[in-house]
């Protein structure tokens, strides 16, 4: 994309790649288990702005465009859940102008999506905002609630947008949930006897009843989680490419999936061992099973015609969590 002052960056190469290539690659990758849930920490926007002389407003727009591309690739790959770390509670420490810029961008995009719901519904995308939304101003909170309600029935891809989120705050939210239940005399005995388990706490957290991420991608080569999904990423593959967020491309995603497939057997084994065989408290994985069955059809007719047919079929069954 040609920008002001004739700047070009990596997005142009992305747009020139024929879409057929993506489809072929994805078909090949899908031969082995694909990740069901990918989480992203969108790091490196400000470094990118310095590198290419963008203003703050421009860089967040560029970051958003790349997010849309990545969501499209995830959709094509059959990923069911995508989590995006849009804004941390710690980010409120930034300059007020920068915080306002991000909030205005999020509000602008929310309003744009609400106006154009047909596109979102056609793509069958569900959007959920997770975090301490009470820290947002009222108009943003209402827009977020409206968007969540309008996309509630969509199923193909669920996008969790973590706004005003930190993992420690999520844990406290879970504790508050237990406390509210205890005040209403539900589970009081359990609390009084110290019988609360990690599973009970998990049920009250933002990500309750959703599968844990299979891959967490943090751009800009940073190797820390920065208080994001600390609870859910116990057996999640961490991938930290050196590229900055607006530079993340389809090929980085492909590489992440390839790394995941290489470690899939190990991650499955350790998840089962820690969470109990057949009882996955932490994760659900899709498992491909192929069933082969014979169909024998013998027709005996007068005159001696007979036919035996063997057929093999493939089927995919998800491994259920209890």
């Amino acid at each position: 994309m040609e920008l002001a002052f004739g700047r070009r960056d990596d997005h142009d190469r992305e747009k020139r790649r024929p879409w057929v290539m993506d489809g072929c690659f994805i078909r090949v990758l899908s031969y082995s288990p694909m990740p069901r849930h990918i989480a992203f920490i969108l790091d490196g926007n400000r470094q990118y702005a310095k590198k290419w002389n963008f203003t703050d407003g421009e860089i967040y727009q560029r970051g958003f465009c790349n997010l849309m591309s990545i969501l499209r690739y995830c959709c094509e790959m059959g990923v069911e859940f995508v989590t995006v770390f849009a804004f941390s509670i710690d980010n409120f420490k930034r300059k007020p102008t920068e915080v306002q810029l991000v909030m205005d961008l999020v509000k602008e995009k929310m309003d744009a999506i609400i106006e154009d719901m047909n596109t979102v519904n056609d793509l069958d995308v569900r959007i959920k905002f997770l975090g301490r939304l009470t820290l947002l101003d009222e108009s943003m909170r209402k827009a977020a609630e409206k968007l969540m309600a309008m996309t509630a029935k969509n199923k193909r891809l669920v996008v969790f947008v973590c706004l005003c989120y930190t993992s420690t705050d999520e844990i406290m939210h879970g504790v508050e949930g237990l406390w509210e239940e205890a005040k209403n005399n539900k589970g009081r005995e359990k609390i009084a006897n110290g019988l609360i388990t990690a599973g009970d706490l998990e049920q009250k957290m933002y990500f309750a009843n959703h599968p844990a991420p299979d891959i967490l991608i943090r751009t800009a080569g940073e190797t820390r989680l920065s208080n994001f999904l600390l609870w859910q990423t116990a057996f999640c593959l961490l991938y930290t490419p050196r590229c900055l967020w607006p530079e993340l491309t389809f090929w980085h995603l492909v590489w992440a999936v390839l790394l995941y497939q290489r470690k899939y057997a190990y991650l499955e084994k350790i998840t089962k061992r820690m969470c109990g065989f057949g009882v996955l408290l932490c994760q659900e994985h899709k498992k491909q099973i192929y069933s082969i069955y014979k169909v024998t059809l013998i027709l005996l007719l007068k005159g001696g015609r007979s036919m035996v047919v063997e057929s093999t079929c493939g089927g995919i069954e998800p491994k259920k969590s209890i």
Binding site: W179, K190, F235, L299, M307, S311
Partner: protein, 274 residues
């Protein structure tokens, strides 16, 4: 009548034959397609393996250069930012206690003072024996910041304090602290609805973790020895801003790789969200 029946049977047989023929052809082409996809998939993964082999060779070369002492920067770097180091070991590899002790000796030689050793299944807690040093239990002992009632398993080894952790010290520890918090507030006054935000703060959770004996300092750096880069359930409350570095399998650990990891850590800059 007989002829009519025979004709009916023949028609049915032809119909079945046509249906199963096309199905059989579709299945055959689907099998061929699967074979081709499988072939390309394996080729792709062979390419990935070649890239990994190349990275491994580069890494070995780098380790050799570091251990030869050619670069002064790897001999003289500051460990002042590293107050607490955590090491995660895959539970299968944690059974090799000789390797674990060698790793700890190297860390001690580099100058690390406080180490948390973690393996998901608690193999280290059961099997590792630090000889003359004693394991202190949950109800006694001192933390790095001087508070009592705060450590799980703590011992000394080669002038380092070693904390042994497992999966149960993570999520279950937080659940116990949550239970402690809630039961404490239930005993006192539960009628004041406006106090919820002041009751359930992260500071109170930290105090609750100390009270139930699952508190520990947050490591600055986490070294992961295992097949995959993941933290295997390390206590979530202690992982917020910890740098996580994957070191590969324990059996191929190298002293120079640890030096490089610590050097890279010393160059990191964190803005903590601001």
């Amino acid at each position: 009548m007989e002829t009519h029946l025979i004709q009916m049977y023949m028609r049915l047989a032809n119909e079945f034959a046509r249906t199963f023929d096309s199905l059989f052809h579709r299945i055959q082409s689907s099998m061929i397609l699967k074979f081709i996809l499988g072939l390309f998939w394996h080729l792709l993964h062979i390419a990935v393996s070649l890239v990994h082999i190349w990275s491994y060779v580069i890494q070995q070369l780098r380790c050799y250069i570091i251990s030869s002492g050619l670069f002064a920067k790897y001999r003289n770097f500051s460990l002042s930012r590293l107050r607490y180091l955590a090491v995660i070991v895959d539970s299968q590899e944690a059974k090799h206690t000789a390797k674990i002790k060698q790793l700890l000796s190297w860390l001690s030689a580099i100058g690390v003072k406080h180490v948390a050793l973690y393996d998901a299944e608690g193999v280290l807690k059961k099997s590792i024996d630090f000889g003359q040093t004693r394991l202190r239990d949950r109800s006694a002992g001192t933390c790095l910041d001087g508070d009592v009632n705060c450590v799980t398993s703590l011992c000394n080894y080669e002038e380092m304090s070693i904390e042994l952790l497992s999966f149960t010290d993570g999520k279950e520890g937080i659940a116990k602290a949550a239970s402690f918090l809630c039961s404490d507030y239930l005993k006192n006054d539960s009628d004041d609805c406006g106090r919820t935000e002041t009751l359930f703060t992260e500071a109170n959770m930290t105090k609750a973790l100390k009270a139930v004996g699952y508190y520990g300092p947050e490591p600055d750096l986490l070294l992961v020895y295992g097949p995959a880069r993941c933290h295997l359930g390390f206590p979530p409350w202690r992982l917020r801003y910890t740098e996580i570095m994957h070191m590969g399998p324990l059996k191929s650990m190298k002293y120079s790789a640890i030096v490089k990891a610590l050097y890279d850590f010393s160059k990191k800059y964190q803005n903590y969200g601001s």
